[in-house]
């Protein structure tokens, strides 16, 4: 595999009871790339994310990260390697103040190691990160109880939680869904900034137009199988993709 290949997924499959959620999916991802994962509902996109981040153990297949097989590792171990994710269903730590939400990742072994424990006052670090993600610094917002945040902010909080871990790969599970156009267009530069900072993104999305503004390549899934992979425009020209999309649902 090429030197700069960061993530190399080979033939992973997962079955839930009778349902083949993911069958023999594989792709490679280079450092700094942005890959979109698209497909109709129930195509197994989220499961793919779960598989890569270790929340679901693959039945077979290998997931090579920097040449090391991480398939079946515990989620927290994988996260400590620098592969982090957002959740489709956002559940911030609703009983904690927003900025305290970041205390959790800031206490992770990964961050501790990276900073050799010299992070100083975690709260202020947290505030910095939040600001970086687009919370106004001196407004009350960061001090509010996270549960009370509006959707847009919650999405940002999800991202903030990822960034706090100083990740190498972020898997975004539908960060755009439910956001207004303006919110999205204010979030896109954020994502671009991550890429510039050298992070690699995998974005599961339904909002194709917005996705294609950032994605270098897309992976199309249907009924748990990869049906196409490549640069967005070309992929969307393929018949089986169209078919899948007309067959599947286009809501959201």
């Amino acid at each position: 595999m090429a030197a700069d290949t960061l993530l190399d997924v080979r033939g992973v499959s997962k079955k839930f009871g009778g349902v083949q959620a993911v069958r023999d999916v594989g792709f490679t991802l280079n450092q700094g790339q942005v890959m979109g994962v698209i497909g109709p509902n129930g195509a197994g996109k989220t499961t793919l994310v779960n598989l890569v981040t270790g929340f679901v153990k693959p039945d077979d297949g290998r997931i090579l990260y920097k040449g090391k097989n991480i398939a079946g590792m515990a989620p927290n171990k994988i996260a400590n390697l620098g592969i982090v994710r957002t959740f489709q269903v956002m559940r911030p730590y609703h009983s904690l103040p927003t900025y305290k939400n970041l205390i959790v990742p800031l206490n992770s072994p990964r961050v501790r190691k990276a900073t050799a424990g010299k992070l100083g006052d975690l709260d202020s670090v947290a505030i910095d990160i939040l600001e970086e993600i687009g919370f106004e610094r001196d407004a009350r917002v960061p001090y509010k109880i996270a549960g009370s945040l509006p959707l847009g902010y919650q999405k940002r909080l999800e991202l903030a939680r990822c960034i706090a871990l100083r990740p190498e790969i972020i898997l975004c599970d539908e960060v755009f869904s439910g956001l207004s156009m303006s919110e999205i267009s204010s979030m896109i530069p954020l994502l671009e900034k991550f890429v510039i900072e050298g992070m690699t993104l995998i974005m599961v999305e339904h909002r194709l137009r917005e996705l294609f503004r950032v994605a270098d390549k897309v992976l199309v899934m249907n009924f748990g199988e990869k049906i196409a992979e490549g640069p967005p425009q070309e992929v969307m020209k393929q018949d089986n993709v169209k078919a899948a999309y007309i067959g599947g649902d286009r809501s959201k």
Partner: protein, 336 residues
């Protein structure tokens, strides 16, 4: 009762103080406003032993035991999300540890109680650890059964005096020590827990409760924190157990009695889940109540559970939250 054309309007007191801590220092009024309730509790608890008669002093001691158990239940349930219905397990392990240390090694209570707290806590943690992978009701049910099984095991292997237990252990020097040990323990644990909840570790535990998946995704092992939490809770419980053992100089199977699991829960529900203070108050109301109702025999238990039911159905927030709201808000009727 408000009439047709009127409605209740709620107004909040001194929001500033509560929202931004620093503001409180601005005036004595605000500070007292914040401190008064806490002081009331502390002073109240410390004075109580002085005003009670001998018998009620003894009741206070057992009430304290239940208060600590309630605290440990509340902590596990509301700060870590582990609903542990097996408080008796802690009492049992702590009690037996203390009793055996005292009986066989002849150690004095001042040594056995802390030592037993630690030993018992380790044991309980070991026993509960396999169940930690379970969530929600599974965990609850298992922990509910554990004390009963611990009991049976002791009978089966006829350990430590089996069904007759061991009596004649050392007791604490006098009624004052007995009371203040437990009262101070309650206060210390109470405020220590409140402090702990604002530390990073505590925050992470609450995070685990809110959304363990996200915690995992943040590269933190929830298992380790759950174990830690159980250990802390067990530490309190076992301390209470060890204390109880030395309060009556007895150890026996009934240390695993179901009352130790049920009453604290009742106290917590009544006092207000997640408030920490609530459970203490609940315990201080309920266990004297159950003493006062002793004359009624079984009826007592019945009334007791009725009360619990009423609370859970009609006042799930519990006394404490209710009082707190009353303290921070005042109501007045106004024309619609």
């Amino acid at each position: 009762m408000p009439s047709q054309d009127q409605r209740k309007k709620r107004l909040d007191r001194s929001i500033n103080v509560r929202s931004t801590g620093l503001y409180a220092l601005s005036s004595w009024r605000e500070m007292t406003y914040l401190l008064a309730p806490r002081l009331l509790l502390i002073v109240g608890l410390l004075v109580l032993p002085l005003v009670l008669d001998h018998y009620w002093q003894r009741v206070l001691c057992t009430a304290g035991v239940f208060a600590i158990l309630a605290l440990s239940f509340d902590f596990l349930a509301e700060y870590v999300g582990l609903v542990c219905l097996g408080g008796a397990l802690f009492i049992g392990f702590g009690g037996y540890a203390a009793g055996l240390l005292n009986e066989y090694l002849g150690l004095p209570p001042v040594v056995t109680i802390p030592l037993a707290a630690v030993i018992g806590a380790c044991l309980s943690t070991l026993v509960i650890m396999p169940c930690l992978r379970l969530r929600g009701i599974y965990f609850a049910i298992i922990t509910f059964m554990l004390p009963l099984f611990a009991r049976n095991v002791i009978i089966a292997l006829s350990l430590f005096g089996s069904t007759e237990g061991i009596t004649g252990l050392d007791t604490l020097p006098n009624i004052w020590v007995e009371q203040y040990v437990i009262v101070i323990a309650v206060l210390v644990i109470l405020f220590a827990l409140r402090r702990f909840a604002s530390e990073d570790v505590g925050l992470i535990m609450m995070a685990v409760k809110d959304n363990d998946r996200a915690v995992l995704a943040s590269g933190i092992s929830i298992f380790r924190y759950r174990v830690l939490a159980v250990f802390i809770a067990a530490l309190m419980g076992c301390f209470a157990g060890a204390y109880l053992t030395h309060l009556y100089g007895w150890l026996g199977l009934s240390l695993f009695a179901m009352d130790f699991s049920i009453l604290p829960i009742a106290a917590t529900v009544m006092g207000g889940m997640g408030t920490l203070v609530g459970p203490v108050i609940g315990a201080l109301i309920l266990s004297p109540l159950s003493e006062a109702l002793r004359g009624l025999g079984q009826l007592r238990v019945v009334l007791y559970c009725l009360l619990l039911l009423l609370f859970i159905l009609y006042k799930p927030e519990g006394l404490m939250n209710f009082l707190e709201r009353k303290y921070h808000q005042f109501e007045r009727l106004e024309k619609v």
